[in-house]
Symmetry: C2
Subunit: 229 residues, 2 copies
Amino acid sequence: MTRQRRSDAESGARQKLIDAGIILFGLHGYEATSTRSLAAAAGVNLAAIPYHFGGKEGLYRAVASHIVDARNAVLGPYFERIRSLCADPAAGRDTLVSALRAMIQALAADTLGTSQGRDASQIMIQEQIALTPAFDLFYEGFFCTALDAWTGLVARLTGRDAGHPDTRLRALALLGQIVIFRVGAFTVLRHLGWQRFTPEAVESIAEICIEQIEASLAPAAAASPGGAS
Amino acid sequence: MTRQRRSDAESGARQKLIDAGIILFGLHGYEATSTRSLAAAAGVNLAAIPYHFGGKEGLYRAVASHIVDARNAVLGPYFERIRSLCADPAAGRDTLVSALRAMIQALAADTLGTSQGRDASQIMIQEQIALTPAFDLFYEGFFCTALDAWTGLVARLTGRDAGHPDTRLRALALLGQIVIFRVGAFTVLRHLGWQRFTPEAVESIAEICIEQIEASLAPAAAASPGGAS
DNA sequence: GTCTATAGTCGGATAGAC
DNA sequence: GTCTATCCGACTATAGAC
């Protein structure tokens, strides 16, 4: 498995274009990224894009697919653990909470602390507002399974029905506590007077989010007011 | 004040272009929005853009300025009330919490429920990831004062120092609970199997966010663990 | 103030040599 | 597989008639 078994893999132009695409598509979005800038950043010829990917859109799909695989490789295990714990009726609350902690910490460290995680999440954010033909790839390949696992965990910890819309809304809102730091990074950094998220800052953010999420999950299988719908 | 006192206000081409810009810049971003599509959507001649605004960038700045004014007109009073309550040492917790509820409800109703609020927030989201020269206009004109008021309220309700970075992080995270529904609207709607946010759904979201925010603010002026930095 | 016509540039894709 | 040269359409902005 040293190579991806591709007929045209000898020079690495494919991979160089994908790497450049992760950066440039994330920075400027699909439409505003030119094939010339992609070829220049990758150090390959312009004609390599139609040759290897059939065109700009093909390159974008390849970038999207690569990102989904890479994020699943990094974060998949945490969601997989959550899913298996939720399927186990014997799993205790402490075990569930520790899986929650691990997931939030991994998510914060990856999307805020690593350059690969930052670049990948940047394209996922672009996809949220632009809605290119690759949205399904992101949703089916990553968001759907991740959100299902997260919702299941929130349902289990609060004694709610994972299928009820209110439970999904609760889970999404709680996830927003960490997502805002990535989506609004420029505003957040400016409001804090920071230049970037240091490793210590990332740890603080994760810790604060975990604490506040746990506080919201505390009223577990109690009265369950149910929301407002 | 029937007119904005502009020397070139007779035909309304300026306003029609700004209205079109709010929609199109929000949908596709600054770079990917063409002057042709703007002129067509506004029903004015292409040359009207350089004439009235000096060019595409001038139109974008006018759009940004218009959005800041409009959002301040809608949401400013809520932040103003929070600010004045925080400055009043006699304000009770119930009063503060009711101001919090009102603000979250107004924010949800505006950004999720009204077309004007949706369009305006869409450009603010674009600005978060693209970082055009108009970012300062948004930050100075809206985000900064709004976040300061919100942080002050969270500080007051939790007995923390509003100037401490951890308090700002806490406030930002809590705000993320409502922001995620706007930023990730497509993913949220798809995950819920919804076509759009109905008024009832917006109410549910606001109610759930308020409840979970209050739960995180509950451990008020108690031990105050302080976070992890 | 509004229009047509056009300049000058940049976009993605292709043909064909090597 | 990689390159150069090129087509053709779309872009922003301007000139000048009305």
